[in-house]
Amino acid sequence: MAEQLKDFSLLHSDEMILNMGPQHPSTHGVLRLKIHTDGEIVSRIEPIIGYLHRCFEKHCEFLTYEQIVPFTDRTDYLAAMNMNDAYALAVEKLLEIEIPERVQYIRVIMAELQRIASHLVAVGTFGLDVGGITPFTWTIRDRERILDLFEYVCGARLLYNYIWVGGVSHDLPEKFIRRTLEFLDYFEPQIEEYNQILTYNKIFIERTADVGTLTPEVAINYGCTGPVLRGSGVKWDLRKTEPYAVYDKFDFDIAVGDGRMGTVGDTWDRYFVRIIEMKESVKILRQALAQIPDGDVHAAVPKKVRIKEGSVYSRYESARGEVGFYIIAGGKDKPMRVKMRSPAFCNLSVLSEIAEGWMISDVIAILGSLDIVLGEIDR
């Protein structure tokens, strides 16, 4: 079993700096890690970001409220629906408009499908990071089906611009509910397969259990959210703790890590939280698909968004954690300032803390379990 080195004074060898990335398959995007090593033991990691910076926040100051939506797609491109939703939620809070029930349900359905899709990538690539190639092909295959559903709804597979301020761009197509239910029926047994081939695989457990343990205190201090925080056993999920949209109408549990394979908050726990969350999302989806009311999805879409004055901070639980939008309106049809709180950015910041004392190969597993998306970190 892997062991964490606690006392560096034993070795006293020279420090070496190793560059990982920005072109490295295990860094999940253009991230550069400056790893200070002592032999093969990591003593410190400096994540260097900014390779994908596109001035999202500055751009927003020159775009109308509606035009920003496609730009939010491009922040977290693996959970674009979530980002659309988070942004729309913030602007609606500022506008103080009532959103039709049907729209709320559609958004929940999209958000949960997107959460599954995003977690599938996280689980698949995590498997890839620790050496299992098959699970990746399987998860990507199932994600494709979700993307098909999205394409069926709005015509795009990755960057949707589907959730608008005040509504959604088009109503659900006729057969959407049936097809989504079909997908869920197909998908649920698949989760068991992932468990069999990856989650309970002995080699996988050896690589991840007890490795890179993140204690709840450290997680909270670093501002970690989402599965990373819940992996440490903290019951914090904005869908439950601060319900927005219609989440208070559904019955689901917050997935938390319980240290089943080792200690609470280890890499395996962070991974497993995502598996449970997918199951919970399926639960929410089934309820939402059964309850969805009729209505006009364009009823509340404002002709032109123009916000007098005021500011708002709105938080939203995306697949990676708490997405926050802080918007200051300046009386025009364009916002004066948009600040986005990126969950992956905060989650990445904890890397050096939890990777210290582990081997370089463990760093890859730990980084994989944080599930970062560079598009969102750099914006």
Binding site: P70, G155, H170, P173, Q196, N201, K202
Partner: protein
């Protein structure tokens, strides 16, 4: 020891479990296969009506397409686009031109000719935002597996990036010129002066050619009918028909199109009585007036530095020349106008003096800075540290210089202006004084 064997056991177990799964997938591969043999197979996506007016709309976002014959050039799509990748240039036919840009398939009368409609698909991010505001539903996404319905190629992949700039509008040069776009054409070709045809249509209506009087036809409320009627009316007038003959011709044309109804009778009657041409009465006169009237040149007024003053002066100038006043009277009316607005300053006086005696004055300002004023170097004023003050000082300096004042006068004037503005500090005064010393 027990741990050791247990580990081997669980390791083997998960190994076998994995193999079993793989085997299972191997056997059921046909059912679960995810890969499509792409160029030969395409995803089956059902077509659907997506809930706005375009029945034929296909929700797959493959490429933007524009039905250019339906486009009215309203620029709504350009305004909606977050990345500015649509470029529209349109030519508006001048008033009274008989050029007809046609109607859209919704029956909207177009107002202008769309001369350019480019979409740069290298920049487009397929957000679909441009398609919603279009009043004619003529810009939309096409392609995808349902492209059979649209008869447009699949992904629009191109071998060269340049080919990804799609040009939808392609009017011929004759069309653009007919729509009165000769200027536009010249600019596009990079020829600085407008070509001859550009100058002609401008000059023509002013000089001789009488205008067709569309007033009676404009009384028709229905757009389609009106455009039809106008066409027939224009043709008849051109052919030199009399009023009553024209009315008959228009009526005939409308009847043929099945658009004639009895409530149009009054309109026809009014056509029968109308003067078909507005005799180009005041036009030729106007032309003469606009030429340097009575030897006065309006450009001289550009020397006025204050914008308000300049505007008032020009207005008065134009009004006076239009009335055909002589040079003195023109100057006087400008003066009264400015005095009324409390804008009559020494500077204005100087300019007006120039205006009145164009023979000597225009030479003076050109010569003056060269002889007298160059003695002063405006660069000295750069020593003034405050931006506002510096600007003011320079402005006054230039105005005074242009008015042909002596160096001493310039210096005092600059000083006075600054003092009035409450910006004159001893330090700045020294700098201004140094203007002369420098000389």
């Amino acid at each position: 020891m027990g741990e050791y064997f247990k580990n081997i056991y669980t390791g083997l177990q998960s190994f076998i479990a994995g193999l079993q799964l793989s085997l299972h997938h191997y056997h059921s591969r046909k059912k679960l296969v995810a890969t499509l043999q792409y160029p030969h197979e395409k995803w089956p996506v059902e077509e659907r009506h997506i809930g706005f007016d375009l029945q034929e709309y296909n929700v797959v976002r493959s490429r933007l397409h524009v039905d250019i014959n339906d486009c009215i050039g309203c620029n709504q799509c350009v305004r909606a686009c977050p990345v500015d990748c649509i470029t529209i240039e349109s030519v508006k036919p001048p008033k009274g031109s008989e050029f007809d840009p046609g109607t859209t398939s919704n029956g909207t009368q177009k107002r202008m000719l769309v001369a350019r409609f480019d979409i740069d698909l290298t920049e487009c991010m397929f957000c679909n935002l441009c398609t919603y505001p279009c009043p004619e539903d003529c810009i939309y996404m096409v392609g995808g597996p349902n492209s059979a319905k649209h008869q447009i190629e699949y992904e629009y992949s191109k071998r060269d990036r340049k080919d990804l700039i799609f040009r939808f509008a392609n009017p011929s040069e004759e069309e653009i010129i007919a729509a009165g776009g000769a200027d536009y054409l010249a600019k596009k070709k990079g020829l600085p002066p407008p070509e001859k045809p550009a100058a002609e249509p401008k000059a023509k209506p002013k000089t001789a050619e009488p205008k067709i009087n569309y007033e009676p036809v404009n009384a028709i409320t229905d757009r389609m009918t009106r455009s039809l009627a106008k066409k027939a009316y224009t043709a008849a007038v051109r052919a030199g028909k009399t009023a009553s003959e024209t009315a008959v011709a228009v009526k005939q044309a409308l009847e043929e199109a099945g658009k004639y109804s009895s409530d149009l009778d009054t309109v026809m009657e009014s056509i029968g009585k109308a003067e078909l041409m507005t005799q180009a009465g005041p036009a030729p006169e106007k032309k003469v007036v606009e030429q340097p009237a009575g030897g006065l040149d309006i450009k001289l007024l550009n020397d006025l530095t204050d914008r308000m003053t300049r505007g008032i002066a020009k207005k008065a100038f134009m009004a006076a020349t239009r009335e055909g006043q002589d040079a003195k009277a023109v100057v006087r009316s400008i003066q009264t106008a400015l005095e009324a607005a409390d804008k009559f300053t020494d500077e204005v006086k100087a300019v007006l003096a120039k205006l009145e005696s164009p023979g000597e004055a225009p030479v003076k300002p050109a010569a003056a800075p060269k002889t007298a004023a160059p003695a002063l170097n405006i660069k000295v004023l750069n020593g003034i540290s405050d931006k506002m003050t510096r600007g003011l000082a320079k402005k006054t300096f230039m105005a005074a210089q242009r008015a042909g004042k002596s160096p001493a006068d310039i210096v005092t004037e600059v000083k006075e202006t600054l003092e009035d503005a409450g910006k004159l500090t001893p330090e700045f005064a020294k700098i201004i004084d140094s203007l002369r010393e420098d000389a």
